[in-house]
């Protein structure tokens, strides 16, 4: 299910540390040999053909939030091998290897930050950690993020990149779908806006739970998004899959997402959405009845 070739581009960021060495990269779509510096400037988008490289969670967050505003939570939470699972190698060893190679403890990073003046909760999956798969600890961190948004009445942004459920945690993994969905049900009932950004790839149990349960769903151009993988579908049905099957553009055509947003435009789109959905903010800009509300208590939404 997980393609072995990794196509990450590490961008200098306040958190990651500026000046990381990036080798000359080849665009997997147009084969152009890319200059690291220009690729960094273009936010990991091929400046020749627009291909969006996969990004690590810290890079994504740094691209969006006001510098220094992001406070990560639950950094210490890490996967545990509850089932004693072993495939070609023990799951416990896979966890160790993933932690060592990615420098993070789980496939998700979350915290509070400020985007275009709006305090919000950001939850960002990291495909580099075991394919962004959702295990129990992943689901726990995501749910903690959702519950924080609920308790602090902050808008929620979740950025997905995941192959789906984490096989090595069996049913404990599957049940994270129910857990995250139940938490989002409470968030929705409380009238707190949730924006989901789907990036390459978002598949399986992640698409079939929190990633698709947003008030507004955005996706990056060309991102593969779906439930069953194309290979599985072809094996099961022998169907010829249409051109562009399961791409962000395909899903948009089928009414499953609201907008395909090129990466450089994302901050502006999120700003627009937050201005509209976060209560009292949209009204403030229009200066509706400024005098009539003069004695009303100051809205507590803005931090």
């Amino acid at each position: 299910m997980f393609r072995p070739k990794t196509r990450y581009v590490a961008l200098p960021s306040p958190r990651a540390g500026v000046g990381e060495e990036i080798d000359r990269l080849k665009c997997p779509k147009c084969d152009t040999s890319l200059e690291p510096a220009r690729l960094t400037t273009s936010l990991g988008v091929c400046y020749r053909c627009g291909y969006h490289f996969r990004l690590r969670a810290p890079e994504r967050i740094a691209m969006l939030v006001e510098p220094g505003s992001f406070h990560e939570e639950d950094q210490q939470i890490t996967a545990t091998d509850a089932l004693g699972f072993k495939d070609s190698q023990p799951y416990a060893r896979r966890i160790e290897q993933s932690r060592a190679s990615t420098g993070v403890n789980e496939a998700v990073t979350w915290g509070e930050g400020v985007l275009a003046g709006h305090p919000l909760v950001i939850v960002c999956l990291d495909f580099a950690f075991m394919g962004g798969s959702m295990g129990a600890a992943t689901g726990e961190k995501i749910t903690n993020g959702i519950e924080r948004a609920l308790h602090r009445r902050l808008p929620l942004l979740v950025i997905s990149a995941s192959g789906g459920a984490r096989m090595q945690e069996g049913m404990l993994s599957l049940m994270q779908m129910a857990k995250t969905a139940a938490a989002l049900g409470r968030l929705g009932a409380a009238g707190i806006p949730y924006v989901s950004l789907l990036t390459d790839p978002t598949m399986g149990g992640v698409t079939a739970s929190f990633a698709s349960l947003a008030d507004v769903i955005l996706a990056e151009p060309g991102a593969m998004i779906g439930f069953a993988g194309a290979r599985v579908i072809q094996q099961a049905t022998y169907e010829t899959l249409p051109e562009g099957f399961q791409t962000a553009e395909f899903l948009w055509q089928h009414g499953m997402i609201d907008l395909v947003v090129p990466r450089p435009e994302l901050p502006a789109v999120l700003r627009q959405l937050l201005d509209l959905y976060v209560k009292n903010e949209a009204a403030k800009d229009f200066e509706l009845e400024p005098q009539a509300n003069a004695s009303a208590p100051t809205p507590a939404v803005r931090g």
């Binding site: 299910m1 939470i77 509850a82 089932l83 699972f85 072993k86 495939d87 070609s88 295990g135 129990a136 600890a137 689901g139 726990e140 749910t143 459920a165 984490r166 096989m167 090595q168 945690e169 069996g170 049913m171 404990l172 993994s173 599957l174 049940m175 994270q176 779908m177 129910a178 857990k179 969905a181 139940a182 938490a183 989002l184 049900g185 409470r186 929705g188 009932a189 399986g204 149990g205 698409t207 079939a208 739970s209 929190f210 990633a211 698709s212 349960l213 779906g226 439930f227 069953a228 599985v232 579908i233 099961a236 049905t237 169907e239 249409p242 099957f245 399961q246 089928h254 009414g255 499953m256």
Partner: protein, 271 residues
Amino acid sequence: MTDNGSIAAATWEQVELARHPDRPYALDYIHAIFGNFFELHGDRLFGDDHAIIGGPAALDHRTVMVIAQQKGRTTAERAMRNFGMANPEGYRKALRLIRQAERFQFPVIAFVDTSGAFPGAGAEERGIAWAIAENLVALAQARVPIVTMVLGEGGSGGALGIGVGDRLLMMEHSIYSVAMPEACASILWRDIARKVEAAQALKLTAADLKRMGLADEIVPEPSGGAHNDYGMAADAAGAALRRHLATLEAVAVDRLLEERYQRYRRIGATS
């Protein structure tokens, strides 16, 4: 190694029993346990999916809403039921019935028996993931008691799409897994022949789920499996359903929903 091998073989026997072609399916249980089952059809959006069936039925003094995944027995019926693999329409029909159950305050009884949601191009085009996700929320929030019972196979998100509730009961030889062993073997070993190892590693038997605290009760089957005596299997299933439903009906609905939330919230919790 031998021990491991024999455990794997025993697990695989459970998988085969759960998929036994003569095993009673949802309609066999429904007709044996409930009176007056009236099947409702269609999702009111696109079509009617015969892999998920449902409608009101009588259970003792009350009406319940039954939602079930249904496999076929004959070749023709298997094709008609799409081998129990639902398309988005099945999940959206289920959603319609969940909402209706809430409106009329019918408890929901969900019978799970599927290897998974249908992996097809049409299912993707019509948003199978969206349909399942929406049901997860609807079931988490439905203000009526919900008892889920796994009859044979509980496969992945396709099972969970009708499988969130206040109680999870499993027939003795049923299985419930994040992915079917064949799919897991194909993903992790890139070799479908490793399915027996995968089945063991996944911890998917009713006994495994009970041990992990995910299943509330294992419903005993007649010797050798439910296919040996449909009546006995249905009696045991019916008795367990009545008992759990009675307990849940005594709980105030706000508390019921809080307990349902916590039931999932604590799975994998770190503190």
